[in-house]
Amino acid sequence: MGHYYLRRTARMFVTVFLVASLSFGLIRLLPGGPFSLLRANLLRQGVPASEVDARIANLQNIRPDAPLWEQYADYMLAAGQGDFGTSIALGEPVSRIIAQAVPWTVFIVLVSTVLIFVFGILLGAIQAYWEGSRFDQLVSGVSVTLMSVPFYVVAVLALFVFAYQFGWFPTAGTVGVGVETGVNMAFFTSALHHAALPIFSYTITGIGGQALAMRGNSIQVLGNDYVEVARLRGLSDSRIATRYVARNAILPLYTGFLLLLGFRLGGTVILEQIFSYPGLGYYMWSALESNDYPLMMGTFLVITVALVIGVYIADLTYGMIDPRISRGESDAY
């Protein structure tokens, strides 16, 4: 058992290491990479070569004239210490930008994913109990429709209608201008007000899929003998619904939940752009536009690591929820 967790943890570190190396390789090994372009530009502007190298070294913690393996070692060591260099466009350390942006993105992704999960499961469970009813048909229809609409379409529409036309919601930012960051009511309401539309567009397009999945699982579980046996044993309906049906129906959704978190994190690149919401995705996009490679690599790395950690947590905790998985005797995961 312990052996499995150990191996699983080791694999996570290997994955993160590979991702970091890949991000270095992608930027560095491409012919005419960003830094040679930057270097050429600076040299053309008449900046002395030594100063150019120093500036680039400062930007990415590497010396452009050093051998490749040394550059790689420097980069990995720095990244391991949380130092991703300095943003070219913003002139700030990448780590500081990310530290500022991450809480907002996590806030949006976490809240919307939890909402999706909770409402999806409730709807799906009710649908399963009333299988074939008017309610079931209606919710299924709406679910399929909403599933087919990409979240950015809803986002653009919501932004246009509720923010620009009605003016109910702000069109940009994470909190209102002049609102003090801290544990106070004004800050919370302002943050919620700003996050409402992004969360809404993320949630409304995700609930349908979860509801349908939960519906299918529940119907399958309801058909199991152990539900019928529990009924004959005289158990109350609520006990059967929660402990016998819901738990077994939710289990398969759990891994999906953590994966969803990870993928939603990637989706913020588009979502935060639409709402001009300065989170992780927003900075990644602006880094792309301004060829801000240190920032790009930093955000890329953070998003990937978040996904890897999500899967890791799912793997480790699944055994706690489903006793059938806990032993981890098999190599496959």
Binding site: N224, D225, Y226, E228, V229, A230, R231, L232, R233, G234, L235, S236, R239, R243, Y244, R247, N248, L251, I321, D322, P323, R324
Partner: protein, 360 residues
């Protein structure tokens, strides 16, 4: 349906102290269009083991569910199911309120399902199933668990280990025995077993049967053992009932059903049973197939496949005839059947024995 209520009443003449009486029980689906149990009447004697045999899809499981008024949702059960907690009390369980029914199930009549592996919630420990049941019936959990440990030990299981295991951590035979223990937890009067050994290997089937006999003695429980496996139940049952196409067709003491069966179907069924004593050539499959629950023929439902069928058979449904004291059969030509359909195994009736003699 053409069946009449009086025709089956005689099938329970023999029972003196019935604990359960089923009268004209029918289970219909599709607003009475589809019969999956057709006017079945029989009784279960206190403290006997009744074996109910029939092929797959003959309505055996419906019969089992009917005893607990637990027919799955769109199905409708009509008739009477009378329960006698003692000799002088009679209650019709179909008249029960939901609360009374909840109390009756498992505490008075409990059931072991087909396939124990799927009868336990996979994400709950076996012990939690016992506790849930005790709580649902407002029983003392410590006392009940003490009793559970006793039953588990009687079934040759290590109580602590089993109660602390998840279902998937137990073997099929262990799960089956744990399920039997769970069904005995509230000390029911009647235990209905629906194919309790179907998913087990032959050795495990055998050892569970032996255990059941001991359990029956110790816990003083009446058993209804439902199976398609005729030889299996023949070794256990006191009385047997044979089902065909959602109807009961013959009932009687075990030895008479095996040795001197009167219904052509029972005789054919016995002849088609693999038997180590009979050479392969002597095993005779029954030609044709049993009717579907829709459009059951008006006359005898076995007429299509019966070598003795006459016009009467296709026209009128046979009523129950008394072969001997406790042995009843629903067939127009049962005397003829005993003469013309020889039982092909040793230990059969007169005719069977004579063919058996010739064989040797």
């Amino acid at each position: 349906m053409t069946t009449t209520s009086e025709r089956l009443h005689r099938s329970n003449d023999a029972v003196e102290d019935p604990i359960l009486e089923v009268k004209n029980a029918s289970v219909t689906f599709d607003d009475g269009e589809t019969y999956v149990l057709d006017d079945v009447t029989f009784s279960i004697e206190r403290n006997e083991i009744l074996g109910v045999v029939g092929e797959s899809g003959s309505g055996k499981s419906m019969l089992a569910s009917a005893l607990l008024d637990a027919i799955p949702a769109p199905g409708h059960l009509s008739g009477e199911v009378l329960y006698h907690p003692d000799q002088h009390t009679t209650v019709d369980i179909l008249e029960f309120t939901d609360d009374e029914l909840m109390e009756y199930r498992w505490a008075d009549v409990s059931m072991v399902f087909q396939g124990a592996m799927s009868s336990f919630n996979p994400t709950m420990k076996v012990g939690a199933h016992f506790q849930d049941t005790l709580k649902a019936h407002n029983e003392s959990v410590p006392d009940g668990m003490e009793f559970a440990r006793e039953i588990l030990s009687d079934l040759y299981l290590d109580p602590e280990r089993v109660l602390d295991s998840y279902p998937h951590e137990l073997s099929g035979g262990m799960q089956q025995r744990a399920l039997i223990a769970l069904s005995l937890l509230l000390e029911p009067e009647v235990l209905v077993m629906d194919e309790p050994t179907a998913a087990l290997d032959l050795l495990m089937q055998r050892s569970i049967l032996l255990l059941l006999e001991d359990i029956k003695e110790k816990y003083d429980v009446t058993m209804v053992f439902i199976t398609h496996d005729l030889p299996l139940v023949a070794s256990l049952a006191d009385r047997m009932a044979v089902m065909y196409a959602f109807e009961l067709i013959e009932a009687g003491p075990r030895d008479r059903i095996i040795g001197e069966s009167a219904h052509p179907y029972t005789r054919a069924l016995l002849n088609s049973t693999p038997n180590i004593d009979a050479p392969l050539e002597e095993m005779q499959p029954i030609p044709g197939k049993s009717p579907a629950p829709v459009n059951v023929p008006t006359g005898c439902s076995y007429a299509d496949r019966c070598p003795l069928a006459t016009e009467t058979c296709t026209r009128d449904a046979p009523s129950f005839d008394q072969v001997e004291d406790e042995h009843t059969v629903a067939c127009h030509h049962w005397q003829q059947a005993r003469e013309e359909i020889a039982l092909s195994f040793a230990g059969g009736d007169e005719a069977g024995r004579s063919t058996g003699g010739e064989r040797r």
